[in-house]
Amino acid sequence: MLDLKVHMRGEVNWSHLKLLNANMSEKLPFKVADISLADWGRKAITIAENEMPGLMKMRELNGPTKPLKGARIAGCLHMTLQTAVLIETLQALGAEVQWSSCNIFSTQDHAAAAIAKAGIPVYAWKGETDEEYIWCIEQTLYFKDGQPLNMILDDGGDLTNLVHQKYPKLLAGIKGISEETTTGVHNLYKMLKSGELKVPAINVNDSVTKSKFDNLYGCRESLIDGIKRATDVMIAGKVAVVAGYGDVGKGCVQALRGFGARVIVTEIDPINALQAAMEGYEVTTMDEACKEGNIFVTTTGCEDIIMGRHFENMKDDAIVCNIGHFDCEIDVKWLNDNAAEKVNIKPQVDRYRLKNGRHIIVLAEGRLVNLGCAMGHPSFVMSNSFTNQVLAQIELWTNTSKYPLGVYFLPKKLDEEVAAAHLDKLGVKLTKLTDKQAKYLGLPREGPFKPDHYRY
């Protein structure tokens, strides 16, 4: 990696050379499963770019000024096609970027290969071991000239924790962290409370344009995708029971009704229950609904939603799946312990025969059906999240002094910018406030338009 010819021409600083060698000689330019997938990956990235207008808008607006110049961003987030567009956006904005995946199974090897081929140090492949996972993250800490990272882009908190626990001497040089997801945000608040957090952080997860959009619109598309890929069931005319009427529940209910199902909702919160009722849905308990439903979807984020007694009352070949949180909403263990027979139909689809002779079809073993049986979130929804990431990185890098140690939301104005960046692509024509109107409302003409507590 050292070009000796260049060194030999001038005065050679051997101590420097040795130092570099000792630290850096082992460092690989990248590590992916199969670099020959790069061309395929590149084609798929091109398609994804077209579906990620927010990120492309960032390139268009900020590419010339390079606001991230000097930033060395270590990123740890699912190495997918969408993330590839994020990585290249950060690069286009002037940053040096190194990447690892935040899950041992989520890397799309063709996306990683394309990024590697573009000369960006990426260390990620589908099917890492836990030790390899940590190795991959560690490869992203030092950049090619031996300089350490100065920004963190994280999903889940493993990179943040690794630097805090194993490389604390690097913390002083890091200007900020942007965190993608609920788990990582919990971790940040915990560290802040215990005094362990040493770097200011922005919670990207709770931007309106992130959680409101991927929960509602992401799930609205991927729920049906998952059910259809798994079972090919006709949804029209069926009775669908949706547990929970939060953002995810609302999306699922809309999608099911859109296909012509009659939807029943269960809720614990009177406000959400009233919302569901006033949208025209029957709201009742699972004990009642279990006798009527053909398709059951849990979206609650809580545990013990569909239990043994519910399975026993279900109609023959009822389909049961979860799109809420982890795998604790559906009591799959009860089925495994009590069913007369379990037949695996295909990966992620199991059909249980109960002792009463009826059958239950469980998707993705009760884990997230949109990930297990479909492709997760589409690029467009990820463009929302990732544009938040880009703006969070720019904000922390360029307005460092505004963010003393703490965990912050992205300012409302930037949340609005994320949404604005997606409008052109959809052909949306936005109305501008006149000065008179702005004065009437008491708002700046260019926003922010809503107070922080506004719920959308």
Binding site: E26, L28, A33, F105, K126, G127, T129, E132, W135, E138
Partner: protein
């Protein structure tokens, strides 16, 4: 009519010479004196015959022995081959069943490690790439071939050049002449 002859150079061995049966009335013609007709003129005649019989015996034995040696060699070679095939198959199957999180792709090299628990697993990281942080004992590197067999790292170069030669042969479709007559092309050049 058999006569037993001891050959002058091998006094301890005797060879039986069988002469053609005699007849006193061959083809219906009465011989005048069978003694006259059948008497051996030269006492060495019988020795010559005996020597020839013996030489024949020796040559036949030697020839058979030669041929059997070749076959025995072949049998030994085939047995060795069979043993190797079985052993390779066992080793290959064994490696295919080692723990692995990645979908392995022919043509790539994979590295086998041993966890403290005793589990063996494949990684795409070499000990060199791990550097000092290598967490588990390294057992060996293997290249996964397109026939799903495994080549140990130190034999990869040899195997690659073999495959290269075979591929060249496959590409030259005229390499083998039509089998109209036996030929030793390639042996004589």
């Amino acid at each position: 009519m058999d006569s037993t002859v001891s050959l002058p150079d091998q006094p301890t061995r005797s060879t039986t010479v069988t002469l053609v049966e005699s007849s006193s009335n061959p083809s219906g013609v009465q011989l005048v004196s069978t003694y006259q007709t059948h008497r051996a003129g030269d006492p060495m005649d019988l020795v010559m015959l005996a020597q020839q019989v013996q030489k024949g015996d020796e040559f036949v034995r030697a020839n058979a022995c030669n041929k059997l040696t070749v076959i025995a060699d072949q049998i030994r070679y085939l047995q060795e081959q069979a043993r190797k095939v079985l052993e390779d198959a066992k080793n290959d199957a064994d490696l295919h069943h080692a723990a692995c999180n990645v979908v392995k792709k022919p043509g790539n090299i994979y590295y086998l490690y041993l966890r403290e628990s005793g589990q063996r697993y494949f990684s795409i990281l070499s000990p060199k790439e791990w550097g000092s942080s290598c967490p588990h004992k390294f057992l060996g590197g293997y290249k996964l071939q397109y026939d799903m067999s495994w080549t140990p790292l130190d034999e990869v170069e040899k195997r690659d050049s073999e495959i290269h030669i075979m591929e060249k042969l496959l590409n030259q479709q005229t390499a083998l002449p039509p089998p109209t007559e036996p030929n030793f092309e390639g042996l004589l050049k």
